[in-house]
């Protein structure tokens, strides 16, 4: 099932313009089957734009997306997308939020709820079935969001700074949780973050995007850290620090450029 040499998503020469503003320019990369890839870059470098393009929510100005070697048009049916902001339906309970994707696929309500219950338990929210999103903490909402997507068993996961709004402890917890769930069936993951430590701790490969406008791919680093990992502990190893320093060397310049433009 897992074969990083086989491509899951392939971006070729993706350029996105909004009017006169060029968000990303000529970006090409690949995510292999079962591969966990991060895109890092300073704020406003078009990371989220790239995810929207892969999801099919945004049409690129030029370039092509191929998913499992098929040109992708319209919404990408292979992917699950965990948004940066809260995207749960506030008028549905945690259980119904998780079940909703199955309901959309005409699965009978009873069965959808049954599966949703199992998934809520899997993300550690047994007993919170009847809570509405506003009654849940930030971390819990992310768990519900994760279950909402994973219940549909997508081949590819897109994650847009999913944990950036959480406090550090909750964040480490969620990152480990994500790794544990990912380890189970190794989906392809494209994970966007501005936090280089998070990117190195979680992924197999890190792509560095330059400061916007007209962001380009600046570099690509394979992360030679063994799995399974504990995100809090791995940060203290020499190997981690070494690769972190190497990527930061490139990223730092971009971050400074981005600051110079925006502040």
């Amino acid at each position: 099932m897992t074969n990083p040499n086989k491509s899951a998503v392939q971006l070729e020469g993706i350029t996105v313009r909004f009017g006169d503003y060029t968000a990303v320019e000529n970006v090409s990369f690949e995510v292999g089957e079962g591969e966990f890839v991060a895109i890092v870059g300073p704020t406003g470098c078009g990371k989220s734009t790239l995810l929207s393009v892969v999801a099919g929510l945004l049409l690129p100005t030029s370039g092509e997306i191929r998913t499992f070697n098929e040109a992708t048009k319209g919404l990408n049916r292979w992917v699950g997308y965990l948004f940066q902001q809260d995207a749960l339906l506030p008028w549905k309970t945690a259980l119904d939020n998780v079940a909703i994707g199955l309901i959309f696929r005409q699965v009978p309500t009873q069965e959808a709820r049954q599966q949703a219950q199992e998934w809520l338990a899997k993300v550690g929210l047994k007993g919170f079935e009847n809570y509405y999103p506003h009654q849940l903490s930030g971390g819990m909402k992310k768990r519900v969001g994760l279950a909402q997507i994973l219940i549909l068993n997508p081949k590819i996961l897109l994650m847009d700074e999913p944990f950036s709004a959480l406090d550090v402890q909750t964040r480490n917890l969620m990152e480990n949780e994500l790794l544990r769930l990912w380890q189970e069936d190794r989906k392809s993951v494209l994970f966007v973050t501005h936090d280089l430590e998070e990117a190195v701790a979680l992924t197999d490969r890190v792509l560095v995007l330059s400061a916007g406008p007209a962001s380009k791919l600046m570099g690509e680093f394979t992360i030679p850290l063994s799995r399974p990992r504990d995100v809090a502990e791995i940060r203290l190893t020499d190997k981690f620090l070494e690769i972190h320093r190497e990527i930061w060397h490139i990223l730092r310049g971009e971050v400074l450029k981005s600051y110079a433009q925006n502040f």
Binding site: A55, L57, L75, R77, V79, G80, Y81, F83, Q85, D86, A87, L88, L89, P90, W91, K92, I100, G101, I103, F104, R105, Y132, H134, Q135, Q148, I149, L152
Partner: protein, 254 residues
């Protein structure tokens, strides 16, 4: 609980106090009873109406007119609001017409409706509908326009079809807007019915008030107004109950 009862005490105190002042001013001949009437006479008149029983016919007619205008106006408003918010091309064609119709002060339509539909209930319902429709329409439209784009994108990524989006995202998200429009709509429906009756009819609360005015019966006018207030307050509390039921998912206190 004691806090709430204290608040109620103040509210009742204010009400009773102002009635006493009113009564006192008229009895002391500072205000003229011909122009201002008196709470006691208004109360007696109301009692007389309720005992004689004639009033129930007027009330039921106004109620039926209000309810019909409310149901038809909000139904049309919500339906067309949904349609135009989700079909931008149709909206572009119809927008100037909607604005133009909404610019007409609705009261001037009353005589026309009376000509078209006669002195009976239909002309009053028609007037109420023109008032209620735009309120429901604009609120529904606005509600749809302000659906959270992230929630919408998420539902689409989870595979929602157009009709599923409508049912699971657009409608519940718009419910707050629609419901808040319902509360003002019920008021407008009453206005449509009463103004219609006032301008030409043979029954209803508006007719009653117009009749009293015609013979300078201030007591009758105030008694009619009191009934009207109670009538609207009851309808409002019903809508309030519905709102609580539908918006149960919202955090309390907002």
């Amino acid at each position: 609980m004691p806090k709430i009862s204290k608040l109620h005490l103040y509210q009742i105190g204010l009400f009773v106090g102002s009635l006493f002042v009113w009564e006192g001013l008229v009895r002391a001949k500072i205000a003229d009873a011909f122009f201002f009437s008196m709470p006691s006479s208004i109360f007696l008149r109301l009692a007389e109406w309720l005992i004689k029983g004639d009033i129930y016919r007027h009330l039921s007619i106004t109620f039926i007119e209000t309810l019909s205008a409310f149901v038809m106006g909000t139904g049309l408003g919500i339906g067309i609001g949904l349609w135009l918010a989700l079909a931008p091309k149709a909206l572009k064609v119809l927008e100037p017409y909607i604005k133009a119709f909404n610019a007409i002060p609705r009261v001037v339509l009353a005589p026309i409706f009376t000509l078209w539909f006669g002195l009976g209930m239909i002309s009053k319902v028609a007037l109420g509908v023109t008032l209620v429709f735009f309120l429901a329409f604009f609120n529904t439209y606005q509600g749809i326009r302000e659906v959270n784009p992230v929630i919408l994108a998420n539902a689409r990524m989870l595979g929602a079809s157009r009709s599923q989006l409508l049912r699971h995202v657009y409608l519940p998200s718009t419910a707050g807007w629609i419901i808040s429009s319902l509360r003002s709509s019920i008021g407008f429906a009453v206005v449509g019915a009463v103004v219609g009756e006032y301008l030409g009819s043979s029954a209803g609360l508006g007719y009653l008030i117009a009749q009293a005015e015609g013979v300078f019966d201030t007591t009758g006018v105030f008694a009619g107004m009191t009934l009207l207030v109670v009538f609207v307050l009851i309808l409002d509390s019903v809508v309030n109950q519905v709102e609580r039921h539908i918006l149960a998912w919202r955090p309390s206190g907002t």
